[in-house]
Subunit: 106 residues, 2 copies
Amino acid sequence: MPPNNLFAALPPAGPDEAVETLLARGAVRIERIVSTGQASPPGFWYDQDEDEFVVLLAGAATLSFDDGRELALRPGDVVDIPAHCRHRVDSTQADPPTIWLAIFHR
Amino acid sequence: MPPNNLFAALPPAGPDEAVETLLARGAVRIERIVSTGQASPPGFWYDQDEDEFVVLLAGAATLSFDDGRELALRPGDVVDIPAHCRHRVDSTQADPPTIWLAIFHR
């Protein structure tokens, strides 16, 4: 069962980010992602077929884009990442964990 | 310009909820809604053509559904409201304001 509260029932920290699908219906998938210090591997860029609208709910993170843009995110920040907009996660706060709400759509 | 941070640039309290569209693309519309004590009028039920996935980000609210379910929402709570699931907002906290993220989709 996905959580009814995004700040509750946090999975234990592990080597990977914890991804839970909250809703997947039609053209939309909504995930809670809990990061505990993970970052994209050196030289790795996400290049997604779906648009992603992401909200940083707790913690902190830095993103960069292959056009050179860098974003330092704090709770409440939102980022619209269109499909094939190459981006990477440079850092995430480990403790307290970083909690994201990610809305993937087409 | 919609806000880049959901907790920032809150609109001044007025008689109505303040609705800002953060993204509208394809089958998805994402809104920030700021409530300052508003509630649905007596006997009013929302009966929407779109599915709505709503997150209470700050404040507090109570929802009810025409099957008798009642939900008291606190920050981080999420609710999946399928299209034509009749519901109403019984109360919202006025101060500090209640902040919602609403994801409408088809």
